[in-house]
Each structure stands twice: as structure tokens, then as C-alpha cells.
Symmetry: C2
Subunit: 365 residues, 2 copies
């Protein structure tokens, strides 16, 4: 490792203030040629390299943007971070990662605000927060950008979650389904999860527009993830009058539901059609119909919002991003898990050879 | 946003050096009580909050660790980053993310070394690098930690990839398989991918120990990912004498192979057994036999190595991590994709109803 010499060392040795060192080495005006030469000589002697850090600090900025994500190991969040990082790096800004997994970790983050004074802006990615936590973000004293959720207080970029849910449900309606379930997801501590709330609203509006009444039995709420999806599907299959179409909060939830359907030997899409949201890489592999969103683009747009808020140049291809709220579109991708409903009698395929590892969970109809 | 006041402003106003400000506000010795009070009064007047940043800079450290990952959107890398971040945050260090996706991006990173002077240490996660790029890391002038790959130059933590491959192949051997293929993966620019090289070595040793000769047709190399896995499996199925067991580089590769097997109506595990590496969340959902590793633990151990290298306290539960190289174990998880081989005649299940979306790719046997 090279010895660390900082601007203060140069200032002390040259007998000038640190801001004079900064201006002298940075070529700024207001420094005599004699002083400039003396500072340069000392800097050379100490093998001082101008640190982007120190020069930024003297301007009062850190050159860094923070990102606050609840689950970096999930495709959606990691993709947002990838898009964000790519644009920021091109703009020579660094990305500080704050990963707050679960309510306890989140509470600790908001208590201690470790990002304080370390970043110029903080991008908050689809984080379920309480109202109090949301207010607390302003105590950071930096620009806040909301990615993956709209915001009344801050610049934001998000897909239209209600429209995404609408597209999924309308696809099922167009195929002829009338008993359409939704698998919702929640965070255990009850923080507001905007995407879930808005997807529920989109599901309800689509049913209403079709003149269908909502059956409360058909809306099942489980913790996020494939296991949650599997449990929700098990529950739906035990209903006296199960759904023929299921809209799952996201692809990972839908893939869990698919496992339950396979184990119960319920044919997909013959007996039950299934739609997710995301176009997760696994959706293609499991032949899952879904409503695609592009989290990498959400990350890129969030970077544009951060750059603009900080008064820095925004790349040409991102100059269209609206500071007062950028909605991104979604796109229905029809694959093999959706088809018209069959007559009720044909719901179950006959069990094949009894597989020891699989439990037969047939609906009690 | 609050106005940014930095230590230099306080120094100028109080007529002292920046290091005096630092010592006065930090409570260090060597500052008279009068000076301390004057500095405090100025700091109060300017509403200056001690910045961990500035106080670290004056000690010549940044308080940050960088992480260099090739694919943050993949479960493995994101999980390493999650483990790393959790330990660093407990130690009040921040994590700077450098995402270098693909050879071009990687070349640019090594040309420009954006992490220079911005971090105290850099954790490099299983990055395929050329020898030249590996040397270039030392130009960063900071501690380098290798995570997910062993290193001769730097502290490292990695699983035993050869042993992981050995466990997978020995499982197939124990079931009675003799024609065992391996699906390898490469990076397009030919950077050295240690895990792939070592898993190949483990595959070969296991065959040798069993007294089997390697059939070069059975080792197929494809770009990483499910699509690569699918293509590799297609190729293996067209062999005059296809394998009955397949060891795939990783679960995501294996899941692609599984898709090809399903589309070709080849029964799994009846006709072909399949093993991956990782225990990716999707392995459980697809009932895939695999050799589990824990990337979150790799990340936590890498954080311990960084802390120790920087002379900072290491959390109790990580004090066992060896600085000269920490090997982590792996664990065979047997699920539904492996079973004893059947007689050759029973290889193919009869095609069911011809599915329009699926192409029947039967091996020409």
C-alpha cells in the first residue's frame, strides 16, 4: 500500500490553508504564481496525488450516491442497482450500497442513518416504510430519489403497477376466466408496500370494468416469495369453488404457486391459468405468462434523477426522464401458463404414478 | 438540503490548521483548552457536524471498502455482496459497489481504476481476469481481498470447487452412472474463470478415481446461463451415445438443461440424471439435486479479511477466518433429478399430445 498523504499535510508543510492547496493544485484563480509553485513543490516532495475525494470535500460534495435496497439478492433489486451503477459510473459518481433486509434491519437504518454526510443523494428502491421512516429520510439532509415507487415528496420513477395488474387480469378475462384470484404479498411489520397496494387496486378495477364482483375468498395474502406463493395456491385449491385464473404479485410468487399446482396434479393451463409480474429470467424457463417490467431501466432513470437533482449533466438518452414523476410502461408476455378455462368436470388430470416425494393435494370439490 | 460546512471552513474561521480542528473536535490530546473552546465555538456557529468522512480522511483512510462484481443481478454475486455489506455496516464501514459486466466493461475498469483513492480495500468477487488485469489491481494501492476464488497474492475465501464437483460426480457414480457429462461455462474474452477450471478438475479426478476414461464428447462448453445450459443439453442429446448423468457448472445452467430435457420429452431422472452447484433458490423449486454453497457466508468471511487487513476489529463469529486462505465447505443436496440409470431402451418416454410450442428433439439412437 502507498503511504497516504492528504491535502492537510501539504498545507501544513507549505504554510498555507488547505483551500489554497486545493486551488493551487486544481489550477483555480486567486493564487499567486509563487504560492502555486511552492505548493506544487511540496506536493511533489510528499508524492501527493490529488484525491478526487479531497477536492470534492472542499466543494462540499461527496461524489457519491447511496442506494437503499431491501433485498439485494433478488433479481428486481439487483437489476435496479445494476442500472443505477452503470449510469453513475459513467458520470464518475460512486455508489454506496445500503442493504436493509427485513423490518429490524430497516428500523436500525432509520435510527442511525448511516448514510448521513456520506452521500450527495440517496436512491430508495421500493422500500416498504412506515410514514415515520419516510419522514426520517429528510433528516439525511441530502436529495432523496424514489425508485420503483411514486412519491409526493421526492423525484421518482416507477412502473404503473395498477396498469400492470390490469393487463394481467384483462388477459385472463379475455380468455374467458371469471373466477380470478390474486395472490398478494406483505412485509411482516406492516410497512406500506406501494406496489402490492397498487397491484391490488389494478386487479379490482379490472374485475369491476368487466362487471364482476370481487370474491374475498379469492384474494390471498402471504409473505413475499416462492414459498408464500406455494402456500397461497394450496389455500386457493382447497376452496369449495376454486379459481380458474390466478394473478400472482410477482413471478417468484407465481413460480411457487406453479409448484403447488404441479404437486397437486392440477393441469396448467388446462385447469388453472397463472400470470405473474416481472419477466424474471425464471419466467421464460418455466414458460410463465407475465407482465414484464425492466428494473435496469428503473435504475438508469433513477440515476438520471439523481444527476439532475445534483445539478450534474444527464446523459442524452435519459434527458426525457421527468423530475416530477416518471411512469414506465409494462408489457404483457403471453407464454404457456394461460389458456381459456375448461369445463369444471375436467379440472384434474388423473394422477400418474404415485411419486413418493410429491404430496397429492387435490381440491375438495 | 442542509448547507455543507466542512472542516476546512472551521479551520479558516478559527485560524488554526485542519488537523487542529480534527483533534479539538475529536477530543484528542495536544490541543490547549483555549484552542479547543475556540474551535468548538466556531463549529457551533457554522453548525458544523463532525463528518466521519473528514475525520477519516485526516487519518488517511476512507472508511470504505469497494466490491468489484461481474454480475450483481445474479443470485451468487448479490448474496456475496449482501453478506459483505452486513458485516461492514456493523463495523461502520461503507461499501462502494463497482459492477463490471462483461469483458468490455471490465477492460474499462482496469484502464481507469475508478476505485483509486476511494476505498481502503477492494473485495474482488470471482471475477474472470487476465493475468495483466490481476496485476493491475495492485496499482490501486489498497488491500485486495479475493472472494469466491483463491489467490496467491491476496487474502482469499472460496469454496473448494474441485471438491464440490467431486461430490456431484461421485453422487452420480454411486447411483451407477458411467456415462457422465459435464457442462462447462466460459467468459467470451477468455479471462481465467477459476471456478470453472477447478470444477472441471474435480469432475476429471472423480472419473479417474472410479477407473473411468474421460470421453471428450461428454464435456461441452457454453456461455454461462440457462440458455447456455439448454444448448449444451441439446448437443449432448444428439450424441450417438448420450450420457445418463449430467453435471452442470451451476444450478442456473442445470435449469436450462432441464428445460431442454423436458422439451425433448426425456424423463428426468428416469433417462437422464442432473446435478448442479449452488443451491440457488430455484433449485428447490425445480427439485434439482445440487451441491450447496453459501455465498452470503463467503461475503461475510471476505468482510472479516478486509477488517483484519485494515487492522480493524473482526466480529467474534468471524475470527476463525484464515488470512492465508479460507476454504469453505459445500454440501450435497439430493432432490428429484438424480436416480440410478435405466436400461438404454427405456430412455425416452412416449411423446404425449404434440405441443405446438415445444420442439421434439429426440436423440438419434
Amino acid at each position: 500500500m502507498k503511504p497516504a498523504v492528504n491535502m492537510a499535510d501539504v498545507a501544513v508543510r507549505a504554510g498555507v490553508s488547505i483551500s489554497t492547496v486545493s486551488r493551487a493544485l486544481g489550477g483555480a484563480a486567486g493564487v499567486s504564481e509563487a504560492t502555486r509553485e511552492r505548493v506544487r513543490a511540496v506536493a511533489d516532495e510528499l508524492a501527493y496525488v490529488v484525491s478526487p475525494e479531497a477536492s470534492r470535500l472542499s466543494r462540499g460534495s461527496t461524489g457519491r450516491v447511496g442506494v437503499l435496497v431491501p433485498a439485494i439478492h433478488l433479481w428486481y433489486y439487483a437489476s435496479v442497482v445494476a442500472g443505477l451503477e452503470a449510469v453513475l459510473r459513467e458520470s464518475e459518481l460512486d455508489l454506496l450500497l445500503y442493504h436493509v433486509e427485513g423490518p429490524e434491519d430497516r428500523r436500525r437504518f432509520f435510527d442511525r442513518l448511516p448514510a448521513r454526510r456520506k452521500v450527495d443523494a440517496l436512491v430508495v428502491v421500493a422500500l416498504p416504510t412506515t410514514a415515520e421512516q419516510h419522514r426520517r429520510l429528510d433528516d439525511l439532509g441530502v436529495a432523496i430519489i424514489s425508485a420503483g415507487a411514486s412519491s409526493e415528496q421526492h423525484p421518482w420513477v416507477a412502473v404503473d403497477d395498477a396498469a400492470a395488474a390490469g393487463a394481467a387480469v384483462e388477459h385472463l378475462l379475455a380468455l374467458g376466466h371469471e373466477r380470478i384470484a390474486m395472490i398478494r404479498t406483505v412485509e411482516p411489520d406492516g410497512g406500506d408496500w406501494q406496489a402490492d397496494r397498487q397491484r391490488l387496486a389494478g386487479y379490482r378495477s379490472a374485475l369491476q370494468r368487466a362487471g364482476l364482483e370481487e370474491d374475498r375468498d379469492l384474494v390471498v395474502t402471504v409473505p413475499w416469495g416462492p414459498d408464500g406463493g406455494a402456500r397461497a395456491m394450496d389455500r386457493l385449491l382447497t376452496l369449495p369453488h376454486p379459481p380458474t385464473g390466478v394473478f400472482a404479485y410477482s413471478d417468484e410468487v407465481a413460480i411457487g404457486a406453479l409448484r403447488s399446482l404441479r404437486r397437486a396434479r392440477v393441469e396448467v393451463p388446462g385447469a388453472v391459468s397463472l400470470v405473474g409480474v416481472d419477466d424474471h429470467p425464471m419466467a421464460d424457463l418455466t414458460d410463465l405468462t407475465t407482465v414484464a417490467q425492466e428494473p435496469v431501466v428503473i435504475g438508469r432513470c433513477a440515476a438520471a434523477l439523481a444527476l439532475r437533482t445534483l445539478g450534474l449533466p444527464v446523459p442524452v438518452d435519459l434527458q426525457h426522464v421527468r423530475t416530477d414523476g416518471q411512469r414506465l410502461g409494462t408489457r404483457l408476455v403471453v407464454r404457456g401458463t394461460t389458456a381459456p378455462p375448461r369445463a369444471a368436470g375436467a379440472r384434474l388430470a388423473p394422477p400418474r404414478s404415485p411419486a413418493a416425494a410429491e404430496v397429492l393435494r387435490a381440491p375438495r370439490s
